[in-house]
């Protein structure tokens, strides 16, 4: 496959390189800093979880978002807390960015009763209704029509709420992706489709799954909805597009599709580096790590004089403290009681 893979991968790498620096255009100092903080937080949380995962105490298959956090953070920053978000198997960053409780995330990975799904769902079934993180799911593309349905409810109620669904490039292959875009467009529903195109589905490159030359966002345009491709490793760019998209939805002008070019740093599932596995090249991985969304965001803030090393230091320690507390709590937390096994089936 590698032979077939290369050209397409390079093409998208270029797509991202086009917009290499990060620009804060149109953003207040405050929101720029908030975006960076959320970005850094998502990164540090997942780095820590990946490290702890190796202790084999989190018995739940886990797909880390390291490297892709800017999409989640930029998109969710444009949402109100009564807007709703749906995700797939790679859902930690979406959960955190929407305001999902960190302690509950860690506790869920440790299988505790205090977990986000009370130890019933695991890493791939995060939910925090209190902040509008409705559901993540391990079945590919499964929550895409569900987001559309939430948007239908908002439209019927004449509310201005918006639904967002995050999914990968692999979900684009599934039939329900097509059915859902069509549904949303026919009924002009307030839903934002966010595709995190990280070039691979498990170990399959795009070339195996989409006809050469395919631009995912241009497919979306065929459903008569506005769609754009953007640099998913530039949190500010994502935020600007997200704001436009959400404004359009709230205005009742129908769904929006955002294709975000980004890249997964760790193995498909699990905490390890997989650059030796041969399905992607070290060169490719390196070229993407050079476009680290966190570093780019920090660089932009510094350049604009909005943050100093001290600022970042303070962010780091605040986050480290929060994580340490969540982990300590989770490890102490009580297990679910087997006598509750049959509760909440109906």
């Amino acid at each position: 496959m590698t032979g077939k893979k290369r050209p397409r991968a390079r093409r998208s790498a270029r797509a991202a390189r086009r917009v290499d620096g990060s620009s804060l255009r149109g953003l207040s100092a405050e929101s720029s800093l908030r975006l960076h903080f959320e970005l850094l937080r998502a990164r540090r949380v997942e780095e820590k979880l990946a490290e702890l995962y190796k202790e084999q105490e989190m018995r739940t298959p886990t797909h880390f978002s390291v490297g892709q956090e800017a999409v989640a953070v930029g998109m969710c920053a444009a949402l109100r807390s009564d807007d709703v978000v749906f995700s797939g198997h790679r859902c930690h960053a979406h959960y955190l960015a929407k305001g999902g409780n960190l302690a509950a995330l860690v506790a869920e990975l440790y299988g505790r009763e205090s977990g986000a799904a009370r130890g019933r769902g695991g890493s791939v079934h995060l939910s925090d209704m209190s902040v509008g993180m409705v559901a993540a799911s391990a079945i590919l593309a499964q929550t895409i029509p569900v987001a559309v349905g939430s948007a239908l409810a908002f439209q019927m109620d004449g509310s201005s709420r918006v639904a967002v669904t995050f999914f990968g490039d692999g979900a684009v292959d599934e039939g329900v992706f097509h059915e859902s875009l069509n549904w949303a467009a026919v009924k002009r529903l307030p839903v934002v489709f966010v595709c995190e195109n990280n070039l691979y589905a498990t170990h399959s490159p795009l070339s195996v799954r989409l006809p050469r030359g395919t631009e995912i966002y241009r497919r979306a345009q065929m459903y008569e909805m506005s769609a754009e491709e953007l640099d998913g490793n530039d949190v500010y760019a994502v935020y600007r597009s997200a704001r436009r998209a959400v404004t359009q939805c709230r205005g009742g002008r129908g769904p929006v599709f955002l294709e975000c070019a980004t890249y997964r740093w760790l193995e498909h599932v699990g905490p390890l580096d997989d650059s030796e596995r041969g399905y992607r090249t070290a060169r490719e991985i390196e070229s993407w790590k050079r476009r680290d969304p966190v570093k780019r965001s920090a660089k932009a803030l510094k350049a604009r004089g909005l943050a100093s090393s001290a600022t970042f230091q303070q962010f780091e320690s605040q986050i480290a403290e929060e994580i340490a507390k969540a982990v300590a709590e989770a490890k102490q937390a009580p297990w679910p009681d087997p006598r509750d096994l049959l509760k909440n089936v109906y």
């Binding site: 709703v84 749906f86 977990g115 986000a116 799904a117 009370r118 130890g119 019933r120 769902g121 079934h125 939910s127 209704m129 409705v134 559901a135 799911s137 079945i139 499964q142 929550t143 895409i144 029509p145 569900v146 987001a147 559309v148 349905g149 939430s150 948007a151 239908l152 409810a153 908002f154 019927m156 639904a163 039939g175 329900v176 059915e179 859902s180 069509n182 549904w183 026919v186 509760k343 909440n344 089936v345 109906y346």
Partner: protein, 344 residues
């Protein structure tokens, strides 16, 4: 009491349910057309309009996901499939998501969707338009599955579904749509999870569901003149199954024939036989007997269709065998050709 047809009973339940709860709405292919799913959605459409009764793209999987998402936001969507066979396209959303939602997300939310769908039969509807999916949906924890046989329950179970917390699959039977029976005007839900003894008897218990319940009643009429008294249990709730009512009757009569609208293997007849073997073994005077579809896809040609479907005569004959009585004492039947000529 006032009488209504099965179709009218469903239509009335929908109208009353929508009047009671503004979050209820109906969507499905053709729910708003001039036929209105054999009349069942037409009154709701006329009363509440297209804002709450509307047509959709032909995409069963997304349709189901859309219903789930709306339900998660507090709505009570009623999805309608003109044939339950079309739900094969939605089994992932139904079983991998709706059924598991409440449990899998820790009990914090639920998705009370109602899925109405119709079992087809007759006029050569063939292999893909005449299946009966109760076993499929009954096997997986998390869904309620009901199959009304009587107009009364067509209304009552629909009303109950509209008030349930869990997703409910209603399997209606096309061949029952024109049947008429007592239906209370007041919105009285039939409790989910309950079977009902529709005819008391002495000699043998027939556990039947949907169209086979009606056939069982007719079988009872055939056998009564021969001095044989059947007790008939309407297994209207597939999941949860009302084992107590079924077992109570079996323990009383000591004999049981199970009549299902689907195939035997891994079906309702297997589950009922199994609970008897687990919990009524000592009471059984003769082996459990199972009645269902012939073990092949549904054929189209009339003589094959006739051989494929069991009916009142099949039931009566099995009852006689269970009682060690000579089957030949049954009057010869001219197997009738159903009067059904559509609409399908």
């Amino acid at each position: 009491m006032r009488t209504r047809t099965y179709a009218e009973a469903i239509a009335e339940a929908l109208v009353q349910g929508m009047a009671q709860d503004p979050d209820v709405f109906i969507m499905g292919i053709g729910v708003d057309d001039h036929k209105g799913i054999f009349g069942t959605t037409r009154p709701a459409y006329e009363k509440f309009g297209r804002a709450r009764v509307f047509d959709v793209p032909i995409a069963e999987q997304a349709l189901t996901g859309v219903a789930i998402g709306a339900a998660a936001m507090g709505k009570r969507p009623v999805v309608v499939h003109a044939r339950n066979d079309f739900m094969f396209l939605a089994t992932d959303q139904m079983i991998n998501l709706a059924a598991k939602w409440r449990y899998m997300y820790g009990g914090a939310s639920s998705v009370p969707i109602v899925v109405r769908s119709i079992v087809g039969k007759g006029w050569g509807q063939g292999a893909t338009h005449s299946q009966s999916l109760q076993a499929l949906f009954g096997h997986f924890p998390g869904l309620h599955v009901v199959m009304p046989a009587l107009p009364r329950d067509a209304k009552g179970l629909t009303l109950a579904a509209l008030q349930a917390r869990a997703p409910v699959v209603i399997l209606e039977h096309r061949a029952l749509y024109e049947t008429r029976g007592p239906v209370p005007e007041a919105p009285e839900p039939t409790p989910l999870g309950t079977a009902s003894i529709v005819r008391e008897g002495r000699d043998l218990t027939v556990v039947a569901v949907s169209l086979m319940l009606v056939e069982a009643m007719r079988a009872a009429d055939l056998l009564a003149p021969l001095g044989i008294s059947l007790e008939i249990v309407d297994c209207r709730s597939i999941r949860p199954l009302d084992a107590e009512t079924i077992l109570g009757s079996v323990r009383k009569t000591g004999r049981v024939v199970v009549a299902d609208t689907s195939w035997l293997a891994f079906g309702l007849s297997a589950e009922v036989a199994a609970i008897c073997a687990e919990s009524a073994l000592g009471h059984l005077k003769s082996p459990v007997r199972r009645i269902g579809l012939a073990d092949c896809p549904a054929p189209v040609s009339v003589p094959l269709e006739r051989a494929f479907y069991p009916d009142r005569h099949t039931i009566a004959a099995e009852c006689l065998r269970s009682l060690d009585r000579d089957v030949s004492i049954l009057p010869e039947f001219a197997p009738e050709v159903s009067a059904f000529q559509g609409p399908y």
